[in-house]
């Protein structure tokens, strides 16, 4: 362990090696400062301590290389820069996790849900993002494999009605745990190749190479191009699968929260790695039928596709990956059902949801509710019924009134779980 002020004196002026060392020390100081914060959720501190350990080791490593060769030092310094760049957003994320704008009542129920689905001990950090889209950093931190970082958009991070969006983010984790890319790879390759074959003459014209149609899988040139669409479509499939997981976990409330945040579309240019908004809504509508949820028709009509002005090559690639994704939707639905049974997704209960709604109507939180999803479904039913909760006033909106009742219901459920756990442990 190295502390500030202990470094050996050396007569040369400082260079990139010293700079890297200084930056690591500064970064470590930031972590120390952050550890002095009030952490509403104690597990957040544990995750930060793990990051502190990573940087202590990094400082030790750099220190031990002082008299090493230039090449080794350069490589170590580049690596230090990379580590700082990578973990800096995490510090911001952790700092925002201490902000009381977040509804901390949801943290424990969601941690429990994540543990149930992912079948292992996890640290769940609930925070908020200065970003429009909910975000999970799950793939970025291989050093913290069991830390789930979930950020809701800061302006909605207090809103319990947004909880179902967490289901989508958990879907990304399940995707990784189930190694879905391997499971889907061969089917998706077939679907991409079929999409290319359907547009073969356009492909030849746009990409200006005469490839025999029979060589689509073996021609280096063709392969290089369709693998781009393959990778894009795989990412699209991950998004669609995560939507299906969100829907399976939260039912109608997932559809409402998704629409609330994104409809008619987010205003961003079309990304090749995401299906277009209206298309996602169509896939969700087919999932509603497949999972036998009750939901009014016409959901996809509330969405629009983004407008894109791509060149012909980009357009061709997007159309191919879109077509392949569409052809894979049924596989994704089947896999969602299989995985939800295997991982024992909690069951939504119409009866429990109705009970919560009755309580909300009389202005009282619900007690005795087993699953947070039922509370949120009742919340959406109440919010969408304009006759409930009284009119909004300048000081207080209907959604604020509802939020108090929902979060208190969630807290009461948490209290009851703790009582049951303690009774079971001591009986």
């Amino acid at each position: 362990m190295t502390t500030i002020g202990q470094e050996a004196f050396h007569p040369m002026p400082p260079d990139y090696f010293d700079y890297a060392y200084e930056k690591l020390i500064s970064f470590a100081s930031q972590i120390t400062n952050l550890l002095a914060s009030d952490f509403p959720i104690p597990t957040t501190r544990r995750a930060l301590v793990a990051v502190q350990d990573i940087f202590s080791r990094e400082i030790d490593r750099i220190t031990s290389l002082r008299s090493d060769s230039t090449e080794i030092k350069k490589s170590a310094c580049a690596n230090a820069n990379l580590k700082i760049r990578k973990f800096l957003p995490l510090l911001g994320f952790v700092l925002r996790s201490t902000n009381v704008r977040n509804s901390f009542e949801i943290a424990e129920p969601l941690t429990r849900l994540a543990k149930q689905l992912l079948k292992r001990e996890l640290t769940f950090i609930l925070s908020s993002e200065w970003d429009f889209s909910p975000l999970t950093y799950n793939f970025s931190f291989v050093e913290l494999p069991d830390v789930i970082l979930l950020g809701l958009p800061s302006f909605e991070s207090a809103n319990a009605l947004m909880v179902p969006l967490v289901g989508h983010e958990l879907g990304h984790w399940i995707w990784r745990d189930e190694d879905m890319e391997s499971r889907l790879s061969s089917r998706l390759e077939d679907n991409i190749v079929n999409a290319f074959l359907d547009g073969w003459s356009a492909f030849q014209r746009i990409f200006g190479r005469d490839v025999d149609i029979g060589d689509i899988r073996t021609s280096m040139f063709a392969r290089e191009i369709w693998t781009i669409s393959f990778a894009d479509s795989m990412r699209q499939c991950e998004e669609v699968f995560s939507d299906f997981v969100g829907l399976k976990l939260f039912g109608a409330s997932y559809l409402h929260s998704f629409e609330y945040l994104t409809a008619p579309f987010t205003g961003e240019p079309r990304s090749r790695e995401y299906p277009d908004m209206k298309t996602r809504a169509e896939f969700l509508s087919s999932a509603v039928d497949f999972f036998s949820f009750a939901f009014p028709s016409g959901y996809a009509d509330h969405f629009e596709n983004s407008t894109t002005e791509n060149g012909p090559a980009d357009r061709f690639l997007i159309e191919a990956s879109d077509a392949a994704t569409r052809a894979t939707v049924q596989d994704l639905l089947d896999l969602t059902v299989e995985i939800s049974a295997k991982r024992t997704f909690p069951s939504l209960s119409e009866q429990e949801s109705e009970f919560c709604l009755t309580r909300i109507k009389s202005g009282v939180p619900a007690e005795g509710v087993e699953y947070i999803g039922n509370i949120i479904n009742a919340g959406w039913s109440a919010y969408r019924d304009n006759t409930l909760l009284g009119p909004s006033s300048p000081g207080r909106r209907r959604i604020d009134i509802l939020n108090e009742l929902l979060l208190k219901s969630i807290e009461v459920a948490e209290f009851e779980v703790r009582m049951r756990d303690a009774d079971a442990a001591y009986s």
Binding site: I41, P42, V100, G363, V364, K408, V412, E414, F415
Partner: protein, 205 residues
């Protein structure tokens, strides 16, 4: 004749099918009936609110300044504590959400076991018929040692009275789960007193 309800009568009202008196989470009715007496203990919730030290020289009911007092919220997990030091003040909240029917008024008081150790629980203790929400607690430590305030601990007790006639004083949808400072309402008498002073000054000049 309005009367103070015994705990037995409070339990009867809670389990009555009209569902008008609600306490969530509900304490064990069997335990309550066994306890007897006339008050019901409530527990401490997880949210706290303090007023920030600031450059404002004072809080004054006259003007906008009262509304813009800086404040800081804290969320304390169930297995942790908020430490209230001697001479300090914090707003807490009950864990229980209480809804009173139209014919019951209530008041909240401290528990003597805490009072004797210097923890003052409440100064604005009246609860009107029709109230719905968690009760804000004005917690002050006037004792000699810091006090650990642990969410879930019994913190206060409420007494309930039946009112002579039904009276609904507040909306059922005003309730909060976190402590809030609330507004200091403009008072018409105070406004008129200020206006009359202004008039006198004008006349003199």
């Amino acid at each position: 004749m309005p009367m103070l309800l015994t705990l037995e009568q409070i339990c009867d009202r809670i389990v009555a099918t009209d569902d008008a008196l609600s306490i969530v989470p509900l304490p064990s009715i069997a335990d309550l009936r066994r306890n007897g007496g006339a008050s019901l203990d409530l527990r401490l919730g997880r949210w706290f609110l303090t007023v920030r030290q600031s450059s404002s020289p004072f809080i004054d009911v006259d003007g906008e300044q009262a509304a813009s007092v800086g404040q800081k919220s804290y969320f304390v997990p169930f297995d942790s504590a908020f430490y209230l030091h001697p001479g300090r003040f914090v707003l807490g909240i009950t864990l229980e959400w209480l809804r009173l029917p139209n014919d019951i008024a209530s008041y909240v008081t401290g528990k003597s076991s805490w009072g004797r150790r210097g923890l003052i629980i409440e100064t604005a203790s009246g609860i009107h018929p029709g109230f719905s929400g968690c009760l804000a607690l004005e917690l002050a430590n006037v004792g000699e040692l810091p006090i650990a305030l642990r969410p879930g601990m019994p913190i206060c007790q409420i007494f309930m009275h039946e009112t002579a006639t039904s009276s609904l004083a507040s909306s059922s949808f005003d309730g909060h789960r976190r402590p809030v400072l609330g507004k200091i309402q403009k008072d018409s008498v105070l406004t008129r007193l200020s206006a009359s002073s202004e008039l006198r000054r004008e006349r003199r000049s």
